[in-house]
Amino acid sequence: MSVLSLAFNRFGLGARADEAAPDDARRWLLQQFDRFEARPAPIAAAPQRREIAGQLAAYFDEARTENRARRRARRRGETQPQPTAGADDMTMTGPAMRGQRPGMDGENDQLAGLPNSARRFIRQTSRRNYLALVRARTNVALTTPAPFVERMVHFWANHFAISADRLVTIGIGGLLEFEAIRPHVLGRFEDMLFAVERHPAMLLYLDQAQSIGPNSEAAQLGQRFARFRQQAQVQRRGINENLAREILELHTLGVDGGYTQADVTEFAKAMTGWTVAGLTRGPAQRFIGVEGNPGDFVFAGRIHEPGARTVLGRAYRQDGEAQASAVLRDLAADPRTARHLATKLARHFGGDEPPPAMVRRLEQAWLGSGGDLPTVYRALIGSPEAWATTSAKFRTPWDWSIATLRAVGTRQVEAQPAVGLLNQLGQPVWRPGSPAGFDDIAASWAGPDALMRRVEAAERIAARTGGLIDARTLGPRLLPDALTPATRQAIARAESPGQGLALLLVAPEFLRR
């Protein structure tokens, strides 16, 4: 691969034929720092947090009413359907929906166990929001003037993965990328980390929003007053360690970061009170102090576990919100975090086996700049390993789809086909199924079935172009000085322009970046 081809494909999102080739590939990448838009038009036009969180709040309201009716009926001895998810929550999400993943595939089966209001909410509201956000993401990727920075957005969104396949995350999941990642992709890691961990999608996805300190004011009150307990369901609640654990294991130190279960528990206690405002209403919510604009971050002191905490051998004596903030700041600055992220970045740009010299270089840039991401990106661009032609990365389905649509000149897609394409290729947008995100190695994506699906998709996408694209001239523009003679020949010998284009899109050079 030539330098230009690597800039287009490994660093960028694939070339567009309607864009001029830059003279200097490295400078082109650096200049994108100035061209990047945190909130481009497609995202500004997509559903916003206030709207999506408001819909979630309205659903919880409806579910609460439904459950009250059910309880009354039960007292009268009538049988009623199972409780509605989320209704009795002090904060927002009930156990009824944790673990439930009403996804988009086989939707009807997965929705079958849910009450009517939940089904309605997912079908009519959440799914519509999900589609609109995926469409915005895709259209930005197709037309961005800063494809390298957009790649970094996708990288970080996958690092801080949420999975938009639970009732509470389907509609709001994509906002994490738009609101927490994009504004900080050219900033400091610490700021991004804070934006992510305070974002409603993350707080809901990893159950932080309902984590309650066992010695908090609210819990104490709950033990004394049965009525409050019933209303707020406090007795069923306590510490939820999910987010604290994933911050340590996935977001910062990494799985080998040397922390213990005690660190997780202590950190989780420090984080109690970090929750989302305005999603449920009632006297308990008023007492706890989680009223407010739906979807906003709020610190609810009355569910915070009092007392000093010790995390990773360091004591945190702060009160309230500042306690977990102090832990987060230390985690952001921890050298193990630098090593963890340097390794992931080196894997994304330097090959499935991260080159040790590159990891060290990125680590030094990270530590030397205090996690200043543009400094790290410059070290990335300055790494010879990222420009080595021997370490090509197999494109993920997302990467391949975007590169393909850019290659054929698409500037805008509709949501449903875009979502359908990624589902069928095996990488449903924002739905990795786990907070670990999608894998970043070829073994996960280059399987026989996946390959066949790409060929089928390539044929159809090529057919849509109606023979108007000549792959013989397009190929060298997408992959400058990087097409092998075998691929050039296969394209030239194709029996039609459409077939030539399909072959280009599934050529080994195009399947990799």
């Binding site: 359908g420 026989p448 030239a492 029996e495 077939q499």
Partner: protein
């Protein structure tokens, strides 16, 4: 996980939504149907309708000639490939007319350029920006006839100022065996992709997808086209694309399957059109022919003249039109290809003009603006 069929159906539906095709419905002022079947990839005319009466044929074609021992006689000189049973029946019923040693104005050997000329009707590739079938719509009585492409997109031949539709439901079977074979070749020197692809193809063949796909796919496409063309409200003009004709290797088996598929398509068209078949003209043509002699891999390479076929109740059939150039070495174009003795543009213009009772000169000018000598080929269509 999904099974492959679901994926095909869904991705086709997804692809269909990426661009919403506009289907125009308008009152037609003619009952006559015209269907153009494009054979993409340069179909071998000598392997379809063989000049078995030419003494040069058997020695030149070697093993290829053996297929015609069981072929269908089309007059004293020519024999149809045995897989073209339906075409043979239509020939016997005088509803099939074969025109041999025919070629478009294109004389080089690039599929892309050759197909562009075949479809735009220009003398040079990319000289015209719309297709001759689209220009034809402007000549039809009333000028309002509905035209449709039986494919995911509108091919070049039907593109242009006049609105046309395209229709390819998700159930339309896949016709990409040729692409799959080429992908296999492309991955041969890539260990990772080669291994994965071998496995993928094994799974696929176990699912029985490759077996007889040509025949079933052809029939399904023919049925669909017939549905779109039938009845008073049906389309009057349609184009069907077929691929897989680029038989550089293993031609006997592959061409045999291709022809079986084409034959099934014709049968489905005739059956599906019912009474409308009597008013129908089907033209089957390809961008250029193939070398007269087989190559070293049991195939043929890009050539020049080939075969055009006319079918339908409207056709004055039961004969072969050919100013036969002969297969002797000296007779071959550039010493390798069947020499063209009839202009394909002229043939198409004549057939279409007669079919729609248009003035030949006017039709020829509109469809093929730079046509060299527009002397009509008379008597192609019953009037």
């Amino acid at each position: 996980m999904y099974d492959r069929r679901t994926f095909l159906a869904q991705s086709a539906a997804a692809a269909a939504l990426l661009v919403a095709p506009g289907v125009s419905v308008a009152q037609a002022a003619t009952d006559r149907r015209f269907v153009f079947i494009i054979q993409r990839g340069a179909a071998d005319g000598l392997g379809t309708l063989a000049p078995t009466g030419d003494p040069g044929f058997a020695p030149l074609r070697g093993a290829f000639a053996q297929d015609f021992a069981n072929g269908i006689r089309a007059g004293d000189f020519f024999t149809l490939h045995p897989n073209l049973a339906e075409a043979g029946r239509l020939f016997a019923a005088r509803e099939a007319l074969f025109v041999h040693a025919v070629a478009s104005p294109y004389r080089d050997r690039s599929h892309f350029d050759g197909q562009n000329i075949l479809e735009t009707g220009g003398r040079a590739a990319y000289a015209l920006r719309d297709g001759w079938m689209n220009r034809l719509l402007g000549l039809l009585p009333g000028g309002q006839s509905r035209a449709i492409a039986v494919s995911a997109t509108v091919p070049m031949v039907l593109r242009g100022a006049r609105e046309v539709g395209s229709y390819a439901p998700s159930a339309l079977p896949d016709a990409s065996d040729d692409l799959l074979a080429r992908v296999g070749n492309l991955y041969e020197s890539d260990p990772q992709l080669h291994a994965a692809w071998q496995q993928a193809m094994q799974t696929r063949s176990m699912a029985g997808d490759i077996a007889d796909a040509g025949g079933r796919n052809g029939a399904a496409t023919g049925q669909l086209a017939a549905r779109l063309l039938s009845g008073a409200g049906g389309a009057r003009v349609a184009v069907i694309e077929t691929g897989g004709w680029d038989t550089h290797a293993g031609q006997r088996a592959r061409l045999g399957q291709q022809l079986r598929g084409l034959d099934a398509m014709l049968g489905a068209l005739r059956t599906g059109l019912g009474a409308d078949w009597a008013n129908t003209l089907v033209v089957v043509a390809t961008e250029f022919g193939r070398t007269a002699a087989p190559n070293g891999t049991g195939g043929t390479d890009h050539g020049t003249a080939s075969l055009a076929m006319l079918f339908g109740g409207a056709v004055a059939g039961g004969r072969v039109i050919a100013d036969w150039p002969g297969l002797a070495q000296a007779s071959l174009h550039e010493g390798r290809d069947l020499r063209p003795t009839l202009d394909l543009d002229t043939l198409i213009a004549s057939a279409v003009a007669q079919h729609y009772r248009l003035d030949m000169a006017r039709a020829a000018r509109a469809l093929f603006p730079n046509i060299a000598a527009a002397r009509a080929v008379e008597g192609l269509v019953r009037t």
